[in-house]
Symmetry: none
Subunit: 125 residues, 4 copies
DNA sequence: GTGGTCTAGACCACA
DNA sequence: GTGGTCTAGACCACC
């Protein structure tokens, strides 16, 4: 009854992360307009307030700019993107190292394992 | 139409994964007895039914054996362990490669990035 | 009907500013517990959500720390206070200079005017 | 019991203050005619009644004179201007001193702080 | 109790 | 139309 296994991030963060990923992957271009708060709320099936929070969060991080009465736009500052990319790399690599360590592998073994990896098996089970 | 963002894995799977990790890391030895369903339920703070499902899942994968009236034991089949380890490695590496590709990195860059990685907290294991 | 003269800051910012002032003036001590969200909401006559926002804002600025289940506390980091004080001084001086310039005074005249000032007249009209 | 945080000055006072500032800075000369109530209302985007109150307020203070059928004029009494300027200076300095005291500064420190102040945007006037 | 998140619905300012 | 703020009321996780 104590819960400890749900632990899913807040929705407004999940959506923010999704948008960040889309920007990093260039599915959203620099300067591009995001859907309005209300529209995105409908698309995402959440309350407009939740999206509002998402956009605020993104603005706080300098990833988007909002122009009153006009909308919310991906920043045009290329530098932000670069930093974002680096930070996400750090995160992915960190997660990887932690996971592999848990399996008892050394750094050298990780690199070896990575080198040998041939994408092929995509089936989960 | 509302729910869509909770989506964290089922608890019984999360617990199964935790046990698997403990086996792979030799914190649980081959042939060792697992806590009883009731005891594990208390330890984990979940309903016994949930643990029952966890154990069934592990048995289905050949990772544990249930002996009526005695309890649940980690398999003694060394081979299972090896396969398990490999499969988990594949999974971790696969996830890593997918993530890094999403960030636009080539295989060579991934290895480089991994090589350069210095974790913040170095003294873990 | 276009409004341009209201321009009062959002309530949640006004309350945050008030708290900051109290901290700077040492009416609130470092490490001291703030009223709970609900209590402060009642005291201030606003919705708890508004206070929640206030506290979030203060935390974002590193001025308070929140401990889940315990409450919200003024940071114990003395450094934050010093920076805060400096920033507010800058603001006050800046406002003063702007106002005096508007009255057509030079920097030298401002200093002279300040030097000659004897507190006495407090009546507004 | 709810309202308490809007509290920005009445519009008619805001406009009066603006006009006073323009007079003090000689952007409006002694004896000069002010725009008609209707015209000023349009310029300012407010209701003519509001401007009417503004002009009344200014007249009450002896700053403007209304001549039936001709319009509203800045007073020609130089003395008024001087007094006005002094009073506004007193007010600005008083406010400044109060603010700085609240931050724990002595008179000497205030002067020092003012002397050291370098505005960001220097080229204003 | 505490803070954190979310919904539903409203009003405002800006363009 | 846009984003920004606010209320009312709810549920959650943590202590």
């Amino acid at each position: 009854m104590t819960e400890e296994y749900a632990a899913s991030k807040p929705i407004y963060i999940q959506i923010a992360d999704r948008i960040i990923r889309e920007i990093v992957r260039r599915e959203l271009n620099l300067g591009e307009k995001l859907p309005s708060v209300r529209e995105m709320a409908i698309q995402s099936g959440v309350n407009p307030n939740t999206i509002q929070r998402t956009y605020s969060e993104l603005e706080r991080k300098g990833i988007v700019e909002t122009r009153r009465g006009q909308g919310t736009f991906v920043t045009e500052d290329e530098e932000v993107l670069i930093v974002l990319n680096e930070r996400m790399q750090q995160e992915v690599v960190g997660q990887f190292v932690r996971n592999m360590k848990e399996l008892g592998l050394s750094k050298t073994q990780m690199i070896e394992s990575l080198r040998n990896y041939r994408e092929s098996q995509d089936g989960e089970e």
